[in-house]
């Protein structure tokens, strides 16, 4: 193989590109793919096969390539399984063979090929069964080391990728004759068209065949159409873009190779993952040529005829002495055209009788073997009952064409068998709104492709409500396609079906003998079609061999299921931007900057970031800080940003009535200026959330939700209103973002407020009042989540940062300060206040001891279901407090509770721990737990058992309110 002196429509010979393969330096030119440049440099051996480590070379010129999977160095890491046929060459490209050691020419694992008789289908299933104990320690690691194609980079990859959306009226997939025609007709009629093409260049097979259209070379005709399309504002041409999946609702997934062909792409995304929504789509994906299963058909130098033509025409690769083995008229016509163009075609072999004249020798017969250690040098054929050998550098196979119909099958549709082309063709409407045209629909002549493309475009325009007159079709070749199927050559030796996964015709026969005769079983037993190429070249052949072995017909045997993606899609593209801060939106409170300045580590609460604790230099660990902050609140005053709680404005003449319906307790009896604790149930009777409800004025309420449940609650309230009370006079809207709100808690809270407001309003416990703070209208609530006398002060968010600074400074002046989530948790556990650690979706109001809050005087969401049998009673897990018998003995959330004399078995489990803390006030570990019949068991001792952390300790069951059980500190 070498580069021809002239030709190569894809090449810009003026720009030489240096690259390396397996450490050797080579030169290619601009426009080359890695595959074409290797071939032009005479490199035929590019890798080793998956199982037998057989030498392998480039077979195809497209994304279906099963053999030439290489590793490419990019952004500092070796990326595996790069198809050499799809990787465009750039200056400095560094590639290497994979699946071989120490080198692709001398690969140690090639010994597998000699062991092939033992390594047939099901080898691993049969061999590594016994003894069982060997599996984890020995067999699995050995198999893992030997298996796999390529190795993933072992470091994080941060090279940029992108995700994007696109919308159009018509998506045309493929830019060959049918796709171009369809895009042209639709675009001229004014439709918004996206034309996607997998290759760098548009034009499909017009780029590599030598046909004529309207008396001009078809390549020139295609260039003219493309120029016309490029001028139209309603057309978007997307080369280097593979549409890989068809999904519900006219959504198509596509992957664009944005910068993989650039030597120094910088911050340009390497790939872009497109989600294209199209009202209609035209599948003009062409057809894939299939190999013929003859002995030793996997030798480097054995290629698809269409690929040989493509490398010749587009990349000026001279394949040397060529023998063609075909079984269809298209193959013979291609061979003649290539010979006329100067290719050294030595012979054409076809099992059919060949009557036409040809400028090369023709043989009626079959190829029964190939020779050459690392690459082909001779072909053995059987002709009129005798064997003969032909010297050759390249054996070009053409077993016919399979419509590339994968996308059509992505929504579970099954294609039908077409006897005239001996392949499957798509049916109508397998994907709603998508129509197959041209070769993808089994229409192989150029005229047929143009005609079907134009017709599908007219139909699409009609569906889109656009009118157009049918175009005059250009003159093009319209020869019928004749084929006599040849699935396998009957001869001695192994004949490959699936090159990527090393599946031979014998493996399929063996699968049938061993009872795996259905296509789905055969596939899994032999791994046929399960390699990165997904059996694009081999599935139909394997099906035919299976049908032969079982004595059935091909359509009767079935078809394989094609699933997305049509081509491999990198995880990097699917997850583009989704690492680090891009993983999810981050929500920051107005006190965030100040909190970070104070050195607080942040903890995620939903999407919000809240301070864990505020460290000081003398702290031994975080618990020192936590204890200190909890004691601020118990003895002085603490400040905490509580803006992350959901806040919902509920207004209107029927607002109170509505709140009565969504809360278990009654809110309509609340007086303006007062706040009430409220409980919401789900309709199934379990607790959804809790919070406060403040009546700001007669028709204006402000309710709060927990931080984590804010989204769920507003969805729920919107549902209740829109589903059951649409005619009530009320509206709700989130004001979470509008207000910055801070807890001021502790015995000195009033003193602090005095400094801040000048005059502390005489506010009763659970009262609220508008106040002015620092010249700004604010709201003051006397509520407490700590059990201390306390307030929450809310200001418009723009003043939040400044107010927080003032509050913390004032608190510090009183011997208190800011407290974080750890201290907040300690304070609320001491008081037995619940959070979503306890409200875990399975608890009822009864379980929490809040059954008294479910009013019997009115209906509410969840009331009927909360009274179902099984949701109340002694069998329920009920909220209790836990104290370890030794107060200093650590206890853990997630631990289970057992009777002291029973083992840690599920049958004896009586409950589990939801939250724990160390209370610096009570100088003891404390826990909140759910325990069977717990309220009746205060005083009992149980064993807390945390199998995960190896912790066991006796605990005493008690009232969940550990501190100030009468609530005098916060109320009086």
């Amino acid at each position: 193989m070498k580069r021809r002196d002239t030709g190569g429509s894809a090449l810009n010979r003026a720009r030489k590109l240096g690259f390396s393969f397996d450490g050797r330096a080579f030169e290619g030119v601009e426009g080359d793919t890695l595959a074409s440049s290797l071939l032009a440099n005479g490199v035929r051996l590019v890798g080793r096969s998956f199982k037998y480590h057989r030498p392998r070379g480039v077979m195809t010129a497209g994304s279906e390539e099963p053999n030439a999977l290489l590793e490419v160095l990019r952004d500092g890491a070796w990326h595996p399984n790069i198809r050499a046929t799809m990787q465009e060459l750039h200056q400095g490209l560094d590639a290497r063979a994979q699946n071989c050691w120490p080198s692709v020419r001398r690969d140690v694992m090639a010994v597998n090929d000699w062991l092939a008789p033992f390594l047939g289908a099901g080898f691993y299933y049969k061999t590594f069964m016994w003894p069982r104990a060997f599996w984890e320690g020995l067999y699995e690691p050995v198999i893992r080391r030997a298996a796999g194609l390529g190795r993933l980079p072992q470091s994080h990859q941060y090279d940029p990728h992108e995700k994007a959306f696109a919308f159009c009226e018509l998506l045309v997939i493929g830019s060959g004759p049918a796709g171009l025609m369809a895009a042209l007709v639709a675009a001229k009629a004014g439709a918004d068209v996206i034309l996607c093409e997998e290759d760098r260049q548009m034009g499909g097979r017009f780029l590599s065949d030598a046909g004529q259209i309207d008396g001009m070379p078809d390549g020139a005709w295609a260039a003219g159409v493309l120029a016309e399309l490029a001028e139209l504002p309603n057309v978007r041409l997307m080369p280097r873009t593979s549409v890989f999946g068809a999904y519900d609702g006219g959504v198509y997934g596509a992957i664009e190779r944005v910068a993989l062909h650039q030597a120094a792409p910088g911050r340009t995304p390497r790939e872009c993952y497109w989600r294209i929504t199209a009202k209609r789509a035209i599948m003009a994906t062409g057809a894939l040529e299939r190999p013929i299963a003859h002995p030793d058909n996997d030798r480097p130098g054995v290629m698809m005829l269409g690929a040989v033509a493509s490398y010749w025409q587009r990349f000026a690769v001279d394949p040397g002495r060529v023998v063609v083995f075909g079984n269809n008229d298209h193959a013979l016509a291609t061979a003649k055209a290539l010979a006329a163009d100067g290719m050294d075609i030595r012979a054409y072999i076809d099992p059919r009788e060949i009557t036409a004249d040809a400028p090369f020798k023709t043989y009626q017969g079959e190829v029964i073997g190939t020779r050459g250690r690392h690459g082909l040098h001779a072909v053995t054929l059987r002709h009129k009952g005798r064997e003969m050998r032909l010297e050759a550098d390249t054996l070009a196979l053409s077993g016919g064409w399979n419509p590339s119909l994968h996308l059509a099958c992505h929504m579970n549709g099954r294609p039908v068998w077409d006897e005239t082309i001996a392949s499957f063709v798509p049916r109508e409407r397998m994907v709603p709104g998508m129509q197959a045209v041209g070769a993808a629909a089994g229409i192989f002549s150029t005229h047929g492709a143009l005609e079907s493309g134009a017709r599908a475009a007219m139909q699409a325009l009609d569906a889109l409500g656009l009118s157009a007159t049918p175009p005059d079709l250009p003159q093009a070749e319209d020869t019928p396609y004749a084929i006599t199927p040849l699935w396998q050559v009957q001869a001695q030796g192994r004949a490959w079906l699936d090159f990527a996964n090393d599946v031979t015709t014998k493996d399929v026969a063996q699968a049938v003998r061993e009872g795996f005769a259905s296509v789905e079983h055969m596939k899994r037993y032999t791994t046929q079609g399960m390699a990165p190429d997904q059996g694009k070249s081999s599935n139909i052949g394997a099906l035919a061999v299976l049908a032969d072995a079982t004595g059935g017909t091909i359509p009767g045997t079935g078809t394989t299921t094609f699933r997305p993606p049509f081509v491999p899609v990198s995880i990097a593209a699917l997850g583009a931007g989704g690492y680090g801060p891009g993983f999810a939106p981050q929500r920051f409170t107005t006190s965030h900057a100040q909190t970070r300045k104070m050195g607080a580590p942040m903890i995620e609460a939903g999407l919000w970031y809240r301070p864990s604790y505020f460290p000081q230099a003398t702290d031994r660990d975080w618990r020192c800080a936590c204890n200190r902050e909890a004691l601020y609140v118990r003895h002085a005053v603490g400040i905490c940003d509580v803006s992350t709680l959901g806040k919902i404005d509920v207004q209107g003449p029927d607002a109170a009535r509505f709140l009565d319906f969504v809360y278990t307790n009654t809110m309509s009896s609340l007086k303006p200026g007062r706040v009430r604790y409220g409980l919401m149930l789900r309709e199934d009777g379990h607790v959804m959330d809790d919070g406060t409800c403040a009546r700001l004025s007669d028709q204006h309420f402000l309710i709060t939700t927990t931080t984590a449940a804010a989204g769920e609650v507003i969805r729920h309230l919107d549902f209740v209103q829109q589903a059951y009370c649409a005619d009530w006079q009320l509206r709700l809207i989130s004001v979470t973002e509008t207000w910055a709100q801070f807890a001021i808690a502790g015995p000195l809270a009033d003193a602090l407020l005095g400094h801040l407001l000048g005059d502390v309003p005489d506010l009763p416990f659970m009262g609220c009042v508008p106040v002015m703070v620092g010249g700004v209208g604010a709201r003051l609530f006397r509520i407490s989540f700590s059990g201390e006398r306390g307030y929450e002060l809310a200001v418009p968010a723009r003043y939040g940062a400044d107010l927080y600074r003032h509050l913390v400074a004032l608190a510090e002046g009183f011997g208190g300060g800011a407290y974080g989530m750890e201290a907040l948790n300690v304070l609320r556990i001491e008081k037995g206040f619940i959070t979503h650690a306890e409200i875990d979706g399975r608890v009822t109001a009864f379980d929490l001891g809040l059954q008294g809050m479910v009013s019997a005087k009115k209906d509410c969401i969840g009331r009927a279901a909360s009274q179902r049998p099984g949701l109340t009673g002694p069998a329920r897990l009920q909220l209790v407090g836990l104290r370890p018998v030794d107060p200093q003995s650590e206890i853990t959330a997630g631990a289970h509770l057992y009777p002291c004399d029973k083992p840690a078995k599920a049958a004896y489990g009586q409950g589990h721990v939801k939250s724990v803390c160390y209370s610096p006030t009570l100088e003891s570990w404390l826990g909140l737990a759910l325990l069977e019949n717990g309220r009746a068991r205060h005083g009992e001792t149980l064993r807390l058992d945390d199998g995960l952390r190896g912790l066991r300790t006796p605990v005493e069951i008690c009232n969940p309110v550990f501190f100030d059980p009468n609530g005098g500190r916060m109320r009086d």
Partner: protein, 84 residues
């Protein structure tokens, strides 16, 4: 998958939150325990046309979607008021 919001038109699935079957639109009477069992738990799971409820998060509209579980066709989307 794309769903029609009565306010916003056809939108991507990622903008919606699923609730469940449209049975939720009809609350039984408070004193009808078996009615509540059906309401909460029993579903017909049809092969074919079904109605279910989706929240269009960006605009806050609950939508009753009629769709086909066999063909995956999405047939219509209406506000809850019109769905009962």
């Amino acid at each position: 998958m794309r769903l029609p919001c009565p306010c916003c038109g056809w939108r991507d699935l990622r903008e919606f939150t699923y609730k469940g079957a449209a049975d939720a639109l009809h609350r039984p009477a408070l004193d009808d325990p078996s009615g509540w069992d059906d309401h909460l738990h029993n579903r017909t799971n049809p092969a074919g046309e079904t109605r279910d409820l989706w929240y269009h998060d960006p605009c806050g509209t609950w939508v009753c979607i009629t769709r086909d579980t066999v063909s995956h066709a999405v047939i219509s989307g209406v506000p809850l008021e019109g769905a009962r």
